[in-house]
């Protein structure tokens, strides 16, 4: 991505909007193509889609509008009348050097190749857990190019490459336990069927055989799939100018909101990240923002216009997932910094008596006003560093402050999940939380 010359379509629409009396105007163009493959026990579907669309934000000091559509924008409109809040657009800014990842140029996964991948997932699952089967599998591999230009002189062009996979599986027995996995990677060919099949098989086996525990505390090891759900529930405490006020209630007497093992980072240009890009959805340069450092809250995640009313540096965090979406600030790659020296097996081995929670089994409850959460989970009871019994139908409950301050160790296995942006965490060893039936 570099600063680029604006295309004629852009320029014509931009000029027309400004001439209509709307000095603040922005034009976004996007082209994309994707292949989607769906497999169920009875059907097999292959979809090839080509999209071409645009979005315009424009207005004056008394109001603004957002308009979007397929094809190319017609400079003559029709455009909505500006209403509501005035629009503010970013000024051009220097974009730091960025090398476009080479996998952006890889071709989309082929129809046969994709179907083979999905079929191999079914085979791997059946071999991991006899009697288990895939109920449905959906793989989508897409690439896109977009351009943005605004009346303040900002010009940017960027590309993206994302593949998503959704799997739903049933285990043996009646009623059959079910489990699902949703993941996003940059390229479909990077998906690892044996690892995914193992994850699903573990979930199914634990759900089928596990029992809820008595109310219990102790050391609890949270696999990345569980830790990221907790982190995603805390996003409102980390984003926007009001976040600092909300999170201040979590500080301990030393001023920390978390243990010294906790460092939280958001980075829109994270190398290798699924959503890696040099600019955000408004064309503002992305950068790394450290939100929590060794337990100390440093700043919330702020867009350029929010940084005028809150302490902290803006970071180019305005997301625009697609042409239909109005740009909104939010995390891109928000993650707990891993400790490269600590393997998961060492964390597990350190637990004398406790639990290893491998996944969530539904949506959690987060009461940010009261500072409490509850998350449905499954996993294993652990004794002497070894799994002793499967656990299912359990709720991980506690205070948000207890979770953040009770992080005793972080592993090295940083893994991202597509939630509110890409949310990442390594395995976390926590104390002070409660597991209930």
């Amino acid at each position: 991505m570099t600063m680029v010359a604006v295309t004629p379509e852009h320029q014509e629409t931009l000029v027309a909007l400004v001439r209509r009396g709307w000095p603040d105007a922005e034009v976004f163009l996007k082209k994309g193509r994707s292949r989607r493959l769906e497999l169920s026990a009875f059907t097999q579907t292959s979809i090839f889609a080509q999209e071409q669309a645009w979005a315009v934000r424009a207005g004056h000091h008394r109001g603004s509008f957002f308009a979007a559509g397929t094809g190319e924008p017609d400079p003559a409109g029709p455009w909505p009348e500006p209403t509501g809040r005035a629009l503010r657009l970013p000024e051009p800014a220097m974009v730091l050097p960025w090398n476009e990842p080479s996998d952006f140029d890889a071709p989309l996964i082929g129809e046969r190749e994709g179907l083979r991948l999905l079929e191999s997932l079914g085979r791997e699952l059946a071999s991991e857990l006899p009697g288990a089967r895939l109920l449905s599998a959906s793989l989508e591999d897409g690439s896109s190019e977009s351009e943005i230009a605004n009346s303040r002189g900002l010009r940017a062009r960027t590309r993206a490459r994302v593949a998503t996979l959704f799997l739903e599986a049933a285990g043996p027995g009646r009623p059959a336990p079910t489990a699902s996995v949703y993941l996003a990677v940059r390229e479909a060919r990077k998906i690892n069927p044996p690892a995914l099949a193992r994850r699903l098989a573990d979930r199914l086996a634990v759900t089928a055989q596990g029992a809820p525990p008595e109310r219990d505390r102790g050391e609890i090891l949270l696999a990345p799939a569980v830790a990221v759900r907790l982190l995603a529930g805390l996003v409102p405490l980390l984003v926007g100018p009001k976040a600092g006020g909300l999170i201040s209630g979590l500080r301990d007497h030393r001023g920390r909101i978390g243990s010294e093992k906790l460092t939280l980072i958001d980075n829109g240009r994270l190398s290798g990240g699924t959503l890696e890009a040099p600019v955000d959805g408004e064309g503002v340069p992305t950068r790394e923002a450290v939100l929590v450092e060794q337990g100390f809250f440093r700043q919330p995640l702020l867009a350029w216009w929010q940084a005028e009313t809150a302490a902290g540096h803006p970071s180019g965090c305005t997301r625009r997932a697609g042409w239909r979406d109005v740009p909104q600030p939010g995390p891109t790659h928000l993650y707990v910094k891993p400790d490269a020296k600590i393997p998961v097996v060492a964390l597990l081995g350190s637990i004398a008596q406790g639990y290893y929670l491998i996944d969530t089994t539904g949506a959690g409850h987060f009461d940010l006003a009261e500072g409490k959460f509850a998350l449905p989970v499954c996993g294993f009871a652990v004794e002497g560093g070894r799994a002793s019994a499967p656990v299912a139908g359990a709720w991980l409950c506690g205070r948000i402050a207890t979770f953040l301050q009770g992080i005793a160790a972080v592993g090295r296995d940083l893994t991202f999940h597509p939630l509110d942006g890409m949310i990442g965490s390594p395995t976390l060893l926590v104390t002070g939380l409660e597991l209930r039936g």
Binding site: I47, G71, P80, E81, G84
Partner: protein, 442 residues
């Protein structure tokens, strides 16, 4: 209709070229849609307008589906898409029918949206409550034209509205076929109820009588009857046609899916595959009569009839779904439903429902409920959950209320396809059902 100038005959001729085998299903799906949104006052930018059009070409052969979609309606992309779905030589070329639609030059506006937030706030004051609420109001318009190699059904259109309200007590949302005076009152009643129940404690676990208001019955019908009788869901547990004739519910339950009787504005004569819709008896006297099927599933069995194929957008394939569910009214008035209940719960509002197709476990989340004591409504309780297995729950209906009401509607997001669903239903009384506390565990 934007499709009046579409050369459907040319499209049909072109499609017939790729239908090589007698059992092939080939069709083209053209859509134009517009959404206009009035966001909350404190959120910029102001009015938001989305306008899109495009098409999908589909070939189904031997249980496999190929779909090619484009965000433009034009001859060249249409020929390209045909080539992508045709299982033919990649170099094969197809005619480029003239497909341009007249541009949508209607004003990008929806003045009727602007009135609603103030009207709801006025209606709220009449309920003697006041609290900050952020309203998002949307108008949804959609035009659909399906073309097959032999048949070209009439184009279809839908116009409806969605409203969401965000308060400190949570989010509430509903769909409406029109924004008239009654809508503001209905929204304000729902919001006032949620506000007043915000600190009510969750009830203790209970098994006994539950009286369900029509809006709650609508969600039960959608999850426990419609989803349970979709051919693809039935197939997860066995052969879909074996469901026909099974006594699934109490004898007093007659449930239909009738898109032709949906509220004006969302009424349909054909589904999203161009098949004629009809008054489909899902349950007659509690017995399964006609599961929901699309063209693909109808080919697997003579007892499955198409006409319930729906798609969220051109980019996704159709699947069997309900449109407008109707539960025929019974004989018992509202007082009669409560009478005789020494103890129980009146469920007047629901936040969401879900069905596990494999286990048949049905869950209904309720933000609050009212106790029934000696046949009368008593105190309000907080969040609770009604759950049970479909086969058991529906047999526990002991009385069907009268009359039937347009019972609200909502979005269904099965399989990632977001679709509006509508219902007409009376209230119901169930006995021996399980209600457990909801909200934050512990």
């Amino acid at each position: 209709m934007p499709f009046s100038e579409l050369d459907t005959a040319a499209v049909a001729r072109t499609l017939s070229q790729i239908a090589e085998q007698p059992e092939d299903v080939v069709d083209a799906f053209f859509e134009r849609r517009e959404d206009v949104e009035l966001p909350p006052e404190d959120e910029g930018p102001g009015l938001r307008v989305w306008r899109e059009e495009g098409f999908a070409v589909r070939l189904v052969r031997e249980g496999r589906t190929w779909l090619a979609t484009r965000d433009a309606i034009d001859g060249r992309p249409f020929a390209e898409a045909l080539r992508q779905v045709a299982r033919a030589f990649s170099a094969a070329s197809y005619p480029e029918p003239s497909l341009r639609l007249p541009p949508d030059e209607t004003p990008a506006a929806a003045p009727e949206l602007a009135e609603l937030p103030a009207a709801v706030n006025r209606a709220l004051r009449a309920h003697h409550v006041g609290f900050p609420v952020r309203y998002t109001v949307r108008r949804h318009r959609r035009f659909v034209q399906v073309v097959g190699p032999r048949l070209v059904p009439a184009a279809q259109s839908e116009v409806f509205y969605s409203v969401t309200a965000d308060g400190s007590w949570g989010r509430w949302g509903a769909l409406f076929p029109r924004l008239d005076g009654g809508v503001a009152e209905m929204i304000s009643s729902a919001l006032a109820g949620l506000f007043r129940a915000r600190q009510a404690p969750a009830p203790a676990p209970f098994r006994g009588i539950a009286v369900l208001a029509p809006s709650v019955v609508a969600v039960v019908l959608h999850e426990a009857v419609a989803h349970a009788l979709e051919a693809d869901v039935l197939a997860q547990g066995g052969n879909p046609e074996s469901a026909v004739g099974v006594a699934m519910a109490a004898e007093s339950l007659d449930v239909l899916d009738d898109p032709g009787a949906a509220p004006e504005g969302v009424r349909r004569t054909t589904d999203d595959e161009g098949s004629p819709v009809f008054r489909r008896w899902l349950l007659r006297g509690g017995v399964v009569e006609q599961p929901l099927a699309d063209a693909l599933w109808a080919r697997t069995s003579p007892v499955l009839v198409p006409g319930a194929g729906r798609r969220g957008s051109r980019h996704l394939p159709p699947g069997p779904r309900s449109s407008h569910l109707e539960l025929l009214a019974g004989e018992t008035d509202e007082a009669g439903l409560l009478a005789g209940a020494d103890e129980g719960y009146h469920l007047g509002e629901t936040s969401r429902g879900s069905l596990d197709p494999l286990s048949g476990e049905f869950t209904l989340q309720l933000p609050y409920a009212r106790r029934i004591r000696r046949g009368s409504l008593a105190e309000t309780v907080g969040p609770c959950i009604l759950r049970g297995r479909v086969a058991d729950l529906l047999t526990r209906v002991t009385a069907v209320g009268r009359p039937s009401y347009p019972a609200g509607a909502g979005w269904c997001a099965k399989g990632g396809q977001k679709l509006p669903v509508w219902a007409t239903a009376p209230a119901l009384r169930l006995e021996g059902v399980e209600i457990t506390p909801g909200g934050m565990p512990g």
